[in-house]
Symmetry: C2
Subunit: 228 residues, 2 copies
């Protein structure tokens, strides 16, 4: 039995950025063509015949937003028959994380039709992109408590309180400063540097920390068990 199939395959990307000022943000593009013309949407597009799904995501991100990603993971595949009003399009959604520098650059070059939006304050989105985004946020929340992906969202060196704020914003609940620090340090994938924080206001300046990749990957293999 031969089946004539007329389904298009696309990828979409939910790219998260974070700064302590602006909180958790997501990269969106404004659509130029129908359907949903001039509506904000997740970056993405059709997969080419000879590229992998990851290559497709990275290519589309570069084309549409110019951003370079340092963490990318498959989220879920959205395949409801009516999610695109024209044809059947099944989309493999990915989520990615970028460091603040990439974030800042994009926020300044306002030329393009790509922009960051705080996840608490989103515009109407095309297609089922709202669902995809919601699911990505849930996944991020789930992931961050058992794998320290938070580091992919912070600068190379950061004061401990930055990490704490990040966790609080992503999880949407307060954490005890002292217990959080103890718990995280216990794992041993963080190194204290001798460098001190550049202050932006009052308060005792804290030491900067950095991620010890070697220990992290070792722990990841053994299986980390967070719980915050």
């Amino acid at each position: 039995m031969t089946v004539l199939q007329n389904i298009k395959l696309a990828v979409d990307a939910v790219v998260f950025g974070y700064t302590s000022k602006e909180g958790l943000s997501v990269l969106l593009i404004k659509r130029k063509v129908a359907p949903f013309e001039k509506t904000w949407a997740l970056p993405g597009g059709l997969v080419r015949d000879h590229e992998s799904l990851e290559e497709a995501v990275e290519r589309e991100l570069k084309e549409e937003t110019g951003i370079s990603i340092n963490y990318l993971e498959q989220l879920y595949t959205f395949g409801q028959p009516q999610r695109d009003p024209r044809n059947r399009v099944v989309s493999v959604a990915y989520y990615g994380l970028v460091k603040p520098d990439a974030f800042e650059i994009k926020a300044n070059t306002d030329a393009s039709d790509a922009a960051w939006f705080n996840v608490e304050n989103l515009p109407p989105l095309a297609f089922d992109h709202r669902d995809i985004l919601q699911q990505a946020i849930k996944r991020l929340q789930g992931k961050i408590i058992y794998e320290p992906i938070g580091f992919e969202l912070l600068d190379k060196r950061f004061p401990f309180s930055e990490l704490e704020k990040l966790y609080q914003t992503v999880l949407g609940r307060p954490l005890d400063r002292r217990n959080f620090k103890k718990k995280i340090l216990k794992f041993g994938f963080l190194e204290e540097t001798t460098e001190k924080q550049q202050l932006e206001g009052a308060g005792r300046p804290g030491n900067l920390y950095q991620f010890n990749e070697k220990k992290y990957f070792q722990l990841k293999k053994e299986g980390i068990n967070f719980e915050l």
Copy 2:
């Protein structure tokens, strides 16, 4: 820019069954056509234009194995360009769980070219189905410790030791009988019945337990937190 796309979309299913005698098994079919003719493979096939991905999985399962599934969840989408030697085929993999009765039936009707294989003793598999299966097992292990999906693999009523054995087989490590029971019962989604276990050997017969769906779904909404 129009892209002419020539990618086929398929679904594959990793269906797990469990009995305390046989352990954790997986449902496979023997391929009738090239490539990988006469090789064992996961049930699956191309998605039709107007059906959802879940409908496609359920249809293929019915067609190829006659089995009815009571738990189905998307696993991952496998999209490497060369995974099918003929054309580009991207496959959305699902994993499912079936109760022992379905399992038994299939194990007896040896007529078809579908069969159960213990996960410890698998034949060579077609395409990248070995990878898919490995990933499904990992997912099952991850899932079972923070959501009691084990119930989808057991009879309606079961002695407590059955649940314990199931967890030990899936996780591949021993669990303390008494602590396991305390931990599970604490959640309150299990009900003790007055019925006693039918013995198959020596030993004091245990009470049968059953799953309290209402409490389970309530807990699921609140967010369960296992850890065994």
